[in-house]
């Protein structure tokens, strides 16, 4: 388990986090968005007033170019994996944080946040360019029930000294009494926020965290709401003021595209913080934002596990819901077991997630690190006439895209960019690549020549 502040220090020592002094004229969400758009490092904002902020720590460089690190590399570090950990290792880790069938063994520790803060406004939470009030994002809500504590994502606005307007999954809200208590944990270990997202997208908010894999890894501490990670930077304890408030807010964190969510009005009872707190925020709605990446990874983890459990064999190599496609396209690499398998697979994916109506299928052996290859193969391996399969226009509308928001039915599409299993092996064109186009002796000589290129005195050409 890696606490949030330690996680940030780890990113900094890896050269993947830059500290920036807060600027008076540029709101943090704009800076955060620009850093993400430029595939820059994670950021920490040093502030004169209030709590330090961090952004981009759950995101990563866009995969439209060859990059040394991937969109999940930072999170891998945050989970205690090597930053080179395979994509599937990250998916498996996330899936393992969820319901564990009762095998979990929770541990408890003392609250790291021991300092009381006078008012939630003293936190000086960031106010975005479009915001009327300061906002909190990437929060983990914790609520108690007779079965245990329940976590879910939460975000909202600070409307006064002691009033919050938030949005959280309906499933969590339904666990609350009218004057129930809810704690908001900000700056939790990456494993904890990933758990909240996973529970939301898998519809398992009702499973207590004590029965989830996360409890094995993250020590917990009680609050007036439910249990939160003991290493939380800031805990905001609240009571529910109104379970059905009538305010409208435009901001939606990415998990809300596929999960029913509801507004709540909360009264702040107490705010506690560590001595030098730093909390994350996401420039919600901007490309590659942290909440978008987290949703994509949690959903991919869920899909990967569910499809691979489905047939008794595990033909699926990976499932990816890239932030670059705003969760509107699902990519899957698989062994095509037999002709027609791809149709089954696509339909299964559509069944398990309502976010997208487009699935791209590629061969096993295509690495999730080679997204560029996927973006090429779609068009050259899939025959435009036979391998782009449109269903009849009677499928329910997908939730993420901007078309057919009125819910009219329409078609779904899957693109089969894998080799036709009926083809003879000799029909399959060998790929041009360093590894395949040159025998080993030539590759060795070439590597040596290339790597030594600055050593030898280069002659003047003319």
């Amino acid at each position: 388990m890696i606490p949030f502040a330690q996680y940030l220090r780890g990113l900094a020592s890896d050269g993947d986090l830059v500290t920036i002094d807060e600027s008076a004229d540029v709101p943090p969400d704009v800076v955060a968005a620009e850093a993400l758009r430029a595939s820059g490092p994670a950021l920490r904002y040093r502030r004169a007033d209030g709590v330090d902020l961090a952004s981009g720590m759950f995101s990563g460089p866009d995969q439209m170019q060859r990059r040394e690190s991937k969109s999940w590399s930072r999170l891998a570090l945050g989970f205690g994996l090597s930053p080179d950990a395979s994509f599937v290792a990250v998916l498996d880790t996330i899936a393992g944080l969820g319901p564990s069938g009762g095998d979990a063994d929770p541990t408890y520790a003392g609250q790291t946040a021991s300092r009381t803060v006078d008012s939630v406004q003293d936190l000086n939470l960031p106010q975005g360019t479009e915001d009327v009030w300061p906002s909190l994002t990437l929060g983990v809500a914790s609520v108690s029930s007779s079965e245990g504590s329940h976590w879910a994502p939460i975000h909202g606005s600070v409307v006064s000294d002691d009033k919050l307007r938030v949005r959280t999954p309906t499933a969590l809200s339904s666990l609350l009494d009218d004057d129930g208590t809810l704690s908001i944990a900000l700056g939790v270990p990456p494993a904890a926020v990933a758990t909240a997202y996973l529970l939301a997208v898998t519809g398992c908010v009702d499973v207590p965290v004590q029965a989830c894999g996360v409890a094995d890894d993250v020590p917990l501490v009680p609050t007036n709401g439910g249990l939160v990670p003991s290493a939380t930077e800031i805990v905001v304890e609240t009571t529910v003021a109104d379970r059905h408030p009538d305010f409208q807010s435009d901001r939606r964190e990415a998990w809300e595209h596929g999960v029913a969510s509801t507004p709540l009005s909360l009264s702040v009872e107490r705010v506690i913080a560590t001595d030098d707190p730093v909390i994350p925020f996401s420039p919600v709605g901007r490309p590659l934002a942290d909440d978008l990446q987290l949703t994509g990874l949690a959903t991919a983890a869920m899909l990967y596990r569910r499809v691979n459990d489905y047939w008794g064999i595990s033909p699926i190599e990976w499932v990816l819901l890239p932030a670059e496609a705003e969760l509107g396209i699902c990519f899957v690499a698989t062994n095509i077991l037999y002709a027609g398998f791809e149709w089954q697979l696509a339909n299964l994916l559509f069944t398990f997630s309502s976010l997208f109506d487009t699935v791209i299928i590629v061969d096993e052996g295509v690495s999730p690190r080679d997204f560029g290859r996927v973006l090429g193969d779609i068009w050259v391996k899939a025959h435009p006439s036979r391998d782009w399969i449109f269903s009849e226009p009677s499928a329910p509308a997908a939730k993420r895209p901007r078309y057919r928001r009125d819910g009219t039915t329409g078609a779904r599409l899957y693109v089969n960019a894998a080799w036709d299993p009926r083809w003879e092996d000799s029909y399959i064109a060998p790929r041009v690549s360093f590894e395949r186009s040159f025998p080993v002796s030539v590759r060795d000589a070439a590597r040596k020549t290339w790597n030594d290129r600055h050593d030898a005195a280069a002659g003047d050409g003319d």
């Binding site: 000799s426 029909y427 399959i428 064109a429 060998p430």
Partner: protein, 164 residues
């Protein structure tokens, strides 16, 4: 001559050991040229056999090893048909005596005649030369054959020669 050659399966004649003309690649220099060849699976069936990789398949990434005997490399411009035609036309007006100017050859040829193998030194020289050309310059002979057939089918020419 290189050690190793490459050609495509589609260029191969249906049967082993049949003589054929095809495009063949020198595996080392990658030079591609036309040659008269014979191909066999068993090198013992060929004179001076060289390894031959025969590539096949839609992407030619499938291959098998055979052996090739290079009989005659076709000149890159091919046989100059025009030249053959001209020579054939000129031949009509000139004598067909060829003088080898070799005492040694004459002795040997006369030996063959006196030992009963040939009726005359001219016949011996004809037979031996054509046999050699058939083995080593078959393309030239074939092309000449075509030119000559063309000639004989020419009605004007026939009329002129008939009139002689």
């Amino acid at each position: 001559m290189s050690n190793h050659y490459i050609t495509a399966e589609e260029h191969l004649p249906n049967e082993d050991l049949t003589e054929t003309t095809l495009q063949i690649t020198d595996a080392e220099t990658k030079r591609i040229f036309e040659a008269r060849v014979r191909i066999a699976r068993d090198p013992d069936e060929l004179t001076d056999p060289r390894p031959l990789r025969v590539v096949a398949g839609p992407h030619e990434d499938v291959s098998e090893e055979r052996y090739v005997e290079l009989i005659d490399e076709i000149d890159s411009e091919g046989i100059d048909e025009d030249r053959l035609r001209r020579l054939a036309r000129e031949q009509e007006m000139t004598s067909n005596i060829v003088n080898t100017r070799s005492d040694d050859l004459k002795v040997v040829l006369r030996y063959l005649v006196e030992s009963g193998q040939y009726d005359s030194t001219a016949e011996a020289l004809r037979e031996i030369s054509f046999q050699y050309l058939a083995e080593n310059r078959p393309a030239l002979l074939e092309t000449y054959e075509d030119v000559r057939t063309e000639f004989e089918a020419d009605p004007l020419r026939r009329a002129l020669t008939d009139g002689e």
